[in-house]
């Protein structure tokens, strides 16, 4: 089960509202490389993982991603709190505002709602871990792109923290992959799914 820690993983304190930034940052909640997809991916995949150390890494990274959902939601919340109607109109936030006001809704920057299509849970150990490595890399590149678009240091600071975490997670999934490969032999390296096939 899960319990809640009543603090963010990393501080978020944004002084100036900016619906323009909220509109692009929301993609890291509900977009194709977002934190909701990340948490759902790892917390789903762990059930078919046969190895305890890899179950642990999927559980613990998945749990950390829930904290990252909270951080992104907090950034968007603070960027849209006290925004003016003029800002909403001039910064193109009207298309979000009309359905969600200043609420948090998981969607991509394009407006596409969050979809489980953004992640896979294949029940195949190597397919899942390859997906996880790619997912961390894709999340990192989205944070890189956000940093290219954001000037406000109040916003850049927590985004930089989240970007760093993608790198660490990539490293840990690489180690998990190595552990899995050590358990497979050269004959069945790609043809065998230890989560389903019997030796």
């Amino acid at each position: 089960m899960f319990s809640y820690q009543k603090h963010l993983q990393y501080p978020v304190k944004i002084a100036n509202p900016s619906p323009a930034l909220a509109k692009i940052i929301i993609t890291q909640l509900g977009g194709p490389h977002g934190e909701k997809g990340a948490a759902s991916r790892y917390l789903s995949q762990r059930f078919s993982m046969p190895y305890n150390e890899v179950k642990a890494i999927l559980t613990d990274i998945g749990t950390e991603e829930l904290g990252h959902e909270e951080m992104i939601s907090t950034i968007v919340h603070q960027l849209t709190k006290n925004m003016s109607i003029d800002q909403i109109k001039n910064e193109g936030f009207d298309t979000y505002f009309v359905d969600h006001t200043a609420g948090i809704y998981p969607q991509a920057a394009s407006g596409m709602p969050f979809s489980a299509d953004t992640f896979a849970s294949t029940g195949d150990v190597l397919a899942d871990l390859h997906e996880d490595l790619a997912a961390e890399q894709k999340a990192r590149l989205s944070y890189d792109n956000l940093l290219r678009l954001i000037d406000d240091n109040d916003v850049r600071d927590p985004i930089k923290f989240l970007r760093e975490r993608e790198i660490v997670h990539y490293q840990r999934f690489g180690e998990a992959m190595r552990k899995v490969q050590e358990k497979l032999d050269s004959k069945n390296f790609y043809a065998f799914n230890p989560a389903f096939d019997k030796k």
Partner: protein, 83 residues
């Protein structure tokens, strides 16, 4: 940054160090140095969390009560800009 924010930052720092160390331990479960590091940070993390909760209120539901009140539900939530 006021006193409460400074202390919360300490809580976040130690809590984060624990998260990061536990991910490392997941893939290196017998690493002596990492286990020692985890132990040391855990002790400091528990201490600062206790101090913070005594002064400013609950960080987890197990410590939800403060001064005869269910403070868990009445204190500010972390997405609000703290005054």
């Amino acid at each position: 940054m006021n006193e409460k924010e400074k202390m919360l930052k300490q809580v976040q720092m130690y809590c984060f160090a624990l998260v990061d160390a536990s991910l490392f331990l997941d893939t290196h479960p017998t690493d002596k140095e990492a286990l020692k590091y985890y132990e040391r940070i855990k002790e400091m993390s528990d201490k600062i969390q206790d101090e913070y909760q005594k002064k400013y209120g609950s960080l987890n539901i197990k410590n939800g009560e403060k001064d005869g009140k269910w403070e868990w539900a009445t204190s500010a939530f972390p997405w609000e800009v703290q005054k």
